[in-house]
């Protein structure tokens, strides 16, 4: 037991016993604070157990029963009060009450069942509505989704549209820029055209002024001579030719002039002094030269002597080398009657040279072409020169007149060859516009246009036919009068030039594939001889090769500046003449006498060759 402290007051052992609980063990010793407390706690618990817990449920149930019975009593009393206060009939009343209650119970039960059914129906309806609602919600969600999708698409399309718009704007900007540039270019083009027109006008004006000057000079000259002639005394002798022609009448002055110019025997012509054509020639004299109307007088109908070369000499060395023109030389031709040489080229003039003492001396310059010269020919008399030009025309000069007498226009492209036809007063021109035109010199008009299949590069005329060489590797022979194609000869390649021998028997064609072809025209079989040489290259589309005047040799210039000479009969290369030309030789020409060969090249050089 615990110790007793001084502060604790001991009490007697009779701590009192609970009358209804267990008796505490009496003990004077060892009562601690916990003891009395535990005692009290125990006592309280016991008290509650016996007093409270035992009666709690009982009293509760009793109270409930009481309530129930009072309720029943209440109902009974209510119903009992009405029928009868007598207690003996209470049983029957009770029974009656019972049956009534049962009826009401049945009715109520029925009502309950009905109500339950109604509830079920309502629940079904409710479920249905719920289902419908769910469906609608699904559809709504679907609609929202599609709406969102559409919105996204709209945004995408809008974005694309925006991008397209920016592209379009950019393109518009570029287009505007391009348009302004186009306008500027057009303006500049207009200016350039104006300048060109202006320049051309200036050139034409210059030409006109020069022509005017010359005509004025001529007139002045004429006036002077007339005056001197008027003043001079003329001796009249009895010869039939001169007097009437040498009268002081100014009408005959033209004849005077003409006769002084002539070297060959033409005195017999003066018999026609009194012919009525004097008037026309006078008219011609004083008239300004009009294109297209100049009339060639009959005095120029000619039977001219035809020179024959007895033998040509193979050239061996260069006698004279000179820069003949200011620009490249395209054509060179010896006169058919003398050693007069004509060269023409890109600088638009024809220069006439004389071969004297082994050198070329410049004699005259013929201008009048507005563009480069492609081909030159002397007429059989040697008095006139026909030239074909890049300016789509052929020009005719008289040798003493630097102004062209005739200009034959009508071609559409450059005229590559112009030849005097065998018919009198006829000129044949071939052009790059695939036509061959025949011109009448008296009328200075084109009398016929022949369509050919290809670019005509060169022409030669013999008595009955015109032979043309074409770029389609064919040589066509045309009948002069009917002007229809009689024959077609094949060539090795593009034909660059043609040349007829003096006896009009051999035709030389030079082809672009570096070969010369010699064809015998008279023989039916048309043999061809092909001439090639190592190192010989045809330099351009218009390289000219020639047959020597005696028909024994062929000469051609090559692209490397060497002149090649073949022997026509042996088919061998006779000689080569190198080192004088520095560029491609464009044309060669053999003099009628056979002595000289002249070659010209694209770098304005002309070389005179001879065998001495």
């Amino acid at each position: 037991m615990a110790a007793v402290t001084s502060r604790r007051i001991t009490t007697d052992s009779a701590g009192g016993s609970d009358p209804r609980g267990p008796v505490l063990p009496p003990g004077g010793s060892g009562r601690s604070a916990e003891t009395w407390k535990r005692h009290i706690v125990r006592q309280l618990k016991h008290r509650d157990l016996s007093q409270h817990a035992m009666f709690q449920d009982l009293i509760r149930f009793y109270t409930q029963l009481l309530e129930k019975t009072s309720l029943a009593k209440g109902i009974l009393s209510c119903s009992l009060r009405r029928p009868s206060p007598d207690s003996s009939s209470s049983i029957s009343a009770l029974l009656h009450q019972n049956s009534q209650l049962k009826k009401t119970t049945g009715e109520l039960a029925y009502q309950v069942v009905e109500l339950q059914q109604q509830i079920k129906i309502k629940e079904c309806v409710l479920e249905e509505q719920h289902a419908r609602l769910a469906e609608e919600e699904c559809r709504l969600a679907g609609a929202f989704d599609s709406h969102r999708e559409l919105q996204e698409r709209v945004e995408r399309v809008q974005g694309e549209n925006g991008a397209l718009k920016t592209e379009y704007d950019a393109l518009l900007e570029r287009q505007r820029g391009a348009e302004t540039r186009l306008r500027e270019e057009k303006v500049r083009g207009g200016h350039l055209v104006e300048d060109m027109i202006h320049l051309k006008q200036q050139a034409a004006a210059r030409m006109n002024s020069r022509n005017e000057r010359r005509s004025r000079a001529r007139e002045a000259n004429l006036q002077k001579e007339l005056q001197t002639a008027a003043r001079s005394k003329v001796t009249i002798d009895s010869s039939s030719s001169a007097p009437t022609s040498r009268s002081t009448s100014p009408k005959n002055e033209n004849q005077d002039q003409e006769s002084t110019e002539q070297r060959h025997t033409r005195l017999f012509r003066s018999a026609s002094a009194t012919s009525p054509r004097i008037l026309s020639s006078i008219r011609e004299l004083f008239d300004r030269k009009r294109r297209g109307h100049s009339v060639c007088s009959l005095e120029e109908d000619l039977t001219c002597p035809v020179g024959i070369c007895l033998s040509a000499r193979v050239p061996a060395r260069a006698l004279h080398v000179l820069d003949a023109h200011e620009q490249g030389i395209n054509a060179v031709r010896f006169s058919s009657s003398s050693d007069l040489l004509a060269t023409g080229g890109t600088d638009r003039v024809i220069k006439l040279w004389e071969v004297r003492a082994g050198s070329l001396t410049h004699r005259a310059t013929l201008d009048g072409s507005t563009e480069g010269i492609t081909c030159i020919e002397f007429d059989p008399t040697g008095l006139r020169i026909l030239a074909a030009s890049y300016d789509k025309s052929a020009l005719l000069w008289r040798l003493d007149d630097s102004v062209p007498k005739l200009t034959l226009t009508g071609h559409i492209r450059k005229v590559t060859a112009a030849r005097f036809s065998s018919l009198p007063h006829q000129v044949v021109t071939g052009s790059a516009d695939r036509t061959i035109r025949l011109w009448d010199l008296q009328r200075a008009a084109c009398v016929q246009v022949v369509e050919v299949a290809s670019y005509c590069s060169d022409l030669v005329c013999s008595e009955n036919c015109i032979i043309s060489g074409h770029f389609d590797s064919k040589i066509r022979v045309w009948d002069t009068r009917a002007v229809s194609c009689v024959q077609e000869l094949p060539a090795q390649g593009k034909v660059t030039s043609l040349d007829l021998s003096a006896d009009h028997r051999q035709l030389l064609s030079c082809c672009r594939d570096d070969c010369l072809q010699l064809v015998d025209l008279r023989r039916r079989s048309n043999d061809r001889m092909c001439f090639r040489a190592e190192g010989f290259k045809c330099g351009s589309d218009s390289t000219k090769a020639v047959i020597s005047p005696d028909g024994c040799f062929l000469a051609a210039g090559s692209a490397d500046g060497t002149v090649y000479v073949w022997n026509a009969s042996t088919n061998n290369l006779e000689t080569r003449l190198p080192d004088k030309h520095s560029s491609s030789i464009s044309a060669v020409s053999w003099s009628l006498s056979g002595e000289y060969v002249v070659s010209v090249d694209k770098s304005r050089r002309a070389v005179l060759w001879s065998d001495i």
Binding site: T5, R8, I9, G16, R47
Partner: protein, 314 residues
């Protein structure tokens, strides 16, 4: 919880607690820490058991009452700490069903001829009059012939409230010179009454714990509020001033009180016990400290009601 803690604290201040350890305040505190839980829990249990004590009662209508039909008795569990007129509304309703309205006057109760004073707590009445009888307690209900000389009228609950509050104030006057109760606000007083009326233990003790505090240097209340009831006596009860702590510093016990106030209750050595000292239906040991008793076994009106009844002879 608060009351429990308070009791524990209060316990610690009492010096008469030790088991094996020395007596010093610090030791008591540490003891409280180790063994305090059981004592704390015990104190709380005590308070709860005191509050929730019930007496099974059978109310029977007086035969002389004029009834329409026979009235069944009414059984009820009466709370010990409450007052008769406060808890017998159902009884009245029950018996009024069988009575005519014109015959009903003020209800009064009586047990074996003795009118029961409603201003005594029910537990006190039971312990005093019927503690050793067979349960349930049979009370007879009267509706007429109110004994004016013996009983006070109780027209309404406000009368009970006024009586209850005056008891509390009187008790606090003894304990704290009325300082605590005067510091409380009117709503606190109301809370005390409402806690009792509605049987709310926590609501009541939230306020009542303040009335159970005391300054530490005192060691207890100034005077212990108590009333000693005797079953057969002229005077209603004994109430005197009595200090919980002796001048030497000892804590007075129940035995001290009885010896002082009612010495015949305590038997002398050798004599059989003639009287039972009952508080709340139990007999505490006489060495139970008085201060503890006042704190834990008081009625809601803060008085320690002690019944001294003759021991039943079997």
């Amino acid at each position: 919880m608060v009351a429990c803690l308070l009791c524990c604290v209060v316990d610690n201040r009492k010096v008469s607690l030790p088991l094996d350890l020395g007596v010093c305040v610090l030791g008591i505190y540490s003891l409280c820490a180790t063994g305090g839980r059981s004592s704390m829990a015990d104190d709380k249990d005590v308070l709860r058991d005191v509050w929730f004590g019930r007496i099974p009662t059978c109310f029977t209508l007086n035969q002389d009452e004029v009834t329409e039909r026979e009235a069944e008795p009414y059984y009820l569990l009466l709370p010990r700490v409450s007052y008769l007129t406060l808890v017998t509304d159902k009884v009245k309703k029950h018996f009024l069903k069988v009575m005519k309205a014109e015959d009903v006057e003020e209800m009064w109760f009586e047990y074996e001829g003795t009118p029961l004073k409603w201003h005594y707590p029910i537990g006190v009445l039971f312990d005093l009059h019927a503690s050793n009888t067979v349960l349930p307690w049979s009370i007879t209900v009267h509706f007429k012939n109110f004994p004016d000389r013996d009983l006070l009228h109780c027209p309404s609950n406000s009368v009970i409230e006024a009586h209850f509050m005056s008891s509390i104030k009187e008790a606090d006057a003894l304990k704290h010179k009325s300082q605590v109760v005067n510091d409380m606000q009117k709503k606190d007083h109301k809370q005390l009454w409402m806690g009792l009326q509605n049987d709310k233990f926590d609501q009541f003790w939230a306020m009542n714990r303040k009335l159970m505090e005391y300054p530490t240097e005192e060691g207890g209340f100034r005077y212990i509020p108590f009333r000693i009831y005797q079953a057969m006596s002229d005077r209603p009860f004994i109430q005197k001033l009595f200090r919980p702590i002796s001048p030497e510093g000892n804590a007075h016990t129940l035995g001290n009180l009885l010896k002082e106030m009612y010495p015949t209750a305590i038997p002398n050595d050798g004599e059989p016990k003639r009287y039972q000292v009952v508080i709340h239906g139990i007999e505490p040991l006489l060495e139970t400290p008085l201060q503890w008793l006042s704190e834990h076994l008081s009625h809601p009106d803060n008085f320690l009601h002690i019944c001294v009844i003759p021991t039943p002879t079997d």
